[in-house]
Symmetry: C2
Subunit: 229 residues, 2 copies
């Protein structure tokens, strides 16, 4: 197969644009140690960029985080909504419920997201940030996903018409918590199972998570709703 060749004398090392290099390094590091746990110097070192350039491109550490959110939030929500829309076409309620939950989970785990190889990496950042309680981070998080989440809750409610909406909400909340915890602390599963179960197996994790959540939601529908509740 013939490929387009770059003449040797013209070739320049295709160094990433500085801005992108910084973003990538920051994202990787923060997905491992959160916001508080990583310094700007470390990010600069890792991306092979001068510390001053970080400030030049992003201003503050907080704004750098906001930029990371920027490049992931839209694609991930879009992917979720696509999958949700597909799931909505399933008529069987039980099947549809599974598809909806799966539509919520898959983009969070998926590593084929269009940017920088990583839904999972970005979700890890969100997971850690949600626990760090950093004020700077909190308001960036707040509005990025709540809207989409509400659409999912509505779709789920349509599958379990007898269920109390508050209880559905609790289960969606649990789903997110379980998802976050699995993504960051998968190795605990390895330890507890003596190596029999791999926490890093995202496909297995997705299936277990979907199945468990769907079961918990369906149970709500089967139980008679309590009066006025």
């Amino acid at each position: 197969m013939q490929t387009t060749e770059i003449p040797v004398h013209t070739y320049k090392k295709p160094r990433q644009p500085t801005r992108e290099a910084i973003l990538d390094a920051a994202e990787l590091l923060m997905s491992q140690r959160g916001f508080n746990g990583v310094s700007l110097r470390e990010i600069a070192r890792e991306s092979d960029v001068n510390l001053g350039s970080v400030t030049y491109h992003f201003g503050t550490k907080e704004k750098l985080l906001a930029a990371i959110y920027d490049r992931h939030t839209k694609p991930m929500n879009q992917r979720r909504l696509e999958l949700l829309s597909e799931a909505g076409r399933i008529t069987d309620r039980k099947e549809r419920l599974h598809a909806i939950v799966r539509a919520f989970v898959i983009p969070a785990f998926s590593s084929q997201s269009d940017v920088a190889g990583g839904g999972a990496r970005f979700t890890r950042i969100r997971a850690i940030l949600s626990m760090e309680g950093n004020e700077a981070a909190r308001h960036i998080i707040a509005a990025s996903f709540d809207e989409t989440t509400n659409l999912f809750v509505d779709a789920i409610a349509g599958c379990v018409p007898n269920a109390d909406r508050g209880s559905i909400l609790w289960r969606c909340h649990f789903l997110l918590g379980a998802l976050y915890y699995t993504l960051v602390n998968g190795d605990r599963i390895d330890r507890l199972s003596g190596g029999m179960v791999k926490g890093s197996d995202h496909d297995r994790a997705t299936e277990e998570l979907v199945r468990a959540t769907a079961a918990a939601l369906q149970e709500l529908d089967l139980t008679k709703r309590k009066a006025g509740f």
Copy 2:
């Protein structure tokens, strides 16, 4: 009602022993902002103690954390095992399953733990730490609870004999993740529900968590186990 009075001239402000004051302050602060997010200076300031005293009593920040673990791990595990033992006496499988899961959850939420008013506060610390990925913290966490957790998994397996042990493990893992997330990010429930559901309502959280987890576990028992899996 007559009470024992302390003569005014004898009265000395019953200032807590320095060590305890430091522990309390550290625990409160870390339960809000984790390990990385809190400085020793802040702890010293908050406990009204000199910075040097912190080092005198605990040596390093890491050892201070270990001391916090020390005073909570044993009581909490003991309480869990008591409740687990009580639950074990229930003969009906479904009822027993609920009681077992509840025995796991309640001590984590309970604020009537014998020390410093707080299972919940301590569980928050564990939650945040589990995400921070701090190497210092990680090895303190590792062995404190895994043993007890395995006993719970065994007890649960006894309630759902047809379920695959790996899947049970996943659900216990999800339970812990959901628990942690709820304890730290309860306000998200408030936001998503428009204030209709209170994330800070630990009794409600406990019940929803127990019910959801039990349902997810029972579903495992109902489904035919796949061959060789």
